[in-house]
Symmetry: C2
Subunit: 331 residues, 2 copies
DNA sequence: CTGAAAGCGCTTACAG
DNA sequence: CTGAAAGCGCTTACAG
């Protein structure tokens, strides 16, 4: 049914070897022969079987991507960056998730052994660092996107979390805020610790204490609940720095429910700049992480590595950017 | 490096044929032999090379998925549904986008000829229906997600667009609204025509005219602009039925800017129920499309087809659901 | 129940 | 510059 290299060779009156040579532009082929073969290839619409090529060459020209979830607000951006880069290099992208615990992890690692892909891009699902480290040690090229401050022994790309926290602080201080609440993500994440440290350092430089720090879990529900609880307890604050936008949305909801105005009474800054951020009411000021660029960068690094070159094992750090919208105006 | 079937055969003292038999549980193998082989397989951590198996068997146990964009608000849900289903069946998922015009389409079709995947799931990128039809005619199993009313000659899964429009109308009418504005999507989409027809029919049954219909382009910016323009022109309406949530968000923004209250002055209903919908201000009432279920269903259909069974070529239609939130309260 | 051999569709030394 | 042959790692008649 599908046309094979043998069909082409036969039709062109040459050997499969020769067809293979013009396919892979190995030179060392007579110009007129090459032209004839190429003509036949086009006429017959021949495309080499990727499986056969992979088997013969020992690689798949395919990149794997492992993510914890596809429904996180910023995952689409990362994926788009990855796909664009990978497709442009004529590689395929095999997508995996790991949301059913041990079973899916096992299934995934067996795909690795099956040599279904040459290298792996990963937004780290929780509790998979050991597995990833093992795969990397066994020789699988791996690039991590958004290292959660775990500082793995393989290449990764992150954003400037410390500086991001610092820029949020500068923004709020310039607006005259002096009593900030910080709603962090899970403290086990390095990125969370960095964001908090950056925020603290800058406030410290300005003589402003950061006394109100609550550990959250990155969800809208949690942001809403924390603020409601704090307000009920009579705690006072004139600004909130939430460690992600989803939680910031919850924060704004709770403030509104309590009859407080954003930003007049309380300014709110998030982190990420998810697609929803410009559309909240009021629109959300936030520290932007360049998710698409992070995906692109990670993909490019992996492709470079697959091309045989060395890539830095130290984290590649992309700049965050303070985006000013209405929930926290410039001072 | 990687352990092959030959290594296993050697270590177990049997032929590759026998190893292959226990791998594929073909029966016809002595129980004790099988046990011994299995033991060796586990000990050596052997996993068959997917490429080699594919070449020998003539299939790849991989499904392709083609989407126009990965950053659309509901795409993550569809993808998650697809990935979950495909992974559970032990298939791989190869992801493709088509956002660079002809070049990417060419690249994509050549992947098809390369036999990189056995079947295709597609959220139709514009202007690719002819290509998809051609692929399907050449024997590639294809299932379309969210047929845009194009009614292709291959299987597809959609939602009840007509009924969805009708339910939006019922909801608004029950709340006493009598002067609706409909902000549609591009009229070339069948789903748009169906939503409008359903809305019209129901309004008609209640003696309410639908005189204000504007064709939009599904973006937030457009929703905002249309409403601003209509208001400036002095047009009056007490409800808006937007054909997608993003546009509805723009509509609410423009109403707020004009000093109108939602829902007191104007009720707003969207379509889709994107993740943002519960978090807008006010939260958005909308006609929910079960995107994840649509992804799951399409994937299941394709897998069934790949297993050799027949699947319906008539569209599979999943129910929409009217979700009541604050932007359009129940009457 | 088991194995030798051919075949899947390519690539790549090797020889000419 | 070109081709015959071996090999990539499997599966599958075919024979015993």
């Amino acid at each position: 049914m599908a046309v094979t290299i043998a069909d082409v060779a036969h039709a062109a009156g040459v050997s499969k070897t020769t067809v293979s040579r013009v396919l892979n532009t190995r030179g060392e082929v007579d110009a007129s022969t090459a032209a004839r073969v190429r003509e036949v290839i086009n006429r017959m619409g021949y495309v080499p079987s990727s499986g056969a090529v992979g088997l013969a060459r020992g690689n798949s020209r395919t990149v794997g991507m492992l993510v914890p979830s596809l429904t996180w607000p910023w995952m689409g951006e990362v994926l788009q960056g990855v796909v664009d880069t990978v497709e442009a290099a004529d590689f395929g992208l095999l997508l995996f998730t790991c949301n059913r615990g041990t079973e899916s992890v096992t299934r995934f690692t067996s795909q690795v052994s099956a040599r279904a892909f040459d290298g792996l891009l990963v937004v780290e699902p929780e509790n998979t660092l050991d597995m990833l480290t093992a795969l990397h040690r066994e020789g699988l090229p791996v690039v991590l996107i958004d290292d959660r401050g775990h500082h793995p022994e393989f290449p990764s790309v992150t954003a400037t979390n410390f500086e991001g926290g610092a820029s949020a602080a500068r923004h709020l201080l310039a607006d005259g805020r002096r009593k900030p609440l910080v709603l962090t993500g899970p403290a086990r994440f390095g990125c969370v610790r960095d964001r908090l440290a950056g925020f603290r350092a800058t406030c410290g430089e300005h003589g402003v204490g950061v006394d109100l720090v609550v550990e959250g879990d990155f969800t809208e529900t949690d942001g809403r609940r924390v603020v409601r609880r704090l307000l009920a307890a009579g705690r006072e604050f004139d600004a909130v720095f939430a460690h992600n936008d989803l939680a910031a949305v919850g924060v704004m909801g709770a403030l509104r429910d309590a009859g407080l105005r954003v930003p007049e009474d309380v300014a709110v800054i998030g982190f990420d700049d998810i697609p929803m951020a410009p559309h909240t009411e009021p629109s959300l000021s936030t520290v932007r992480q360049p998710m698409r660029e992070m995906g692109e960068t990670a993909a490019r690094m992996l492709l470079t590595r697959l091309a045989g070159e060395e890539i830095p094992t130290a984290p590649v750090v992309l700049p965050t950017e303070m985006i000013t919208r209405r929930s926290a105006p410039a001072g």
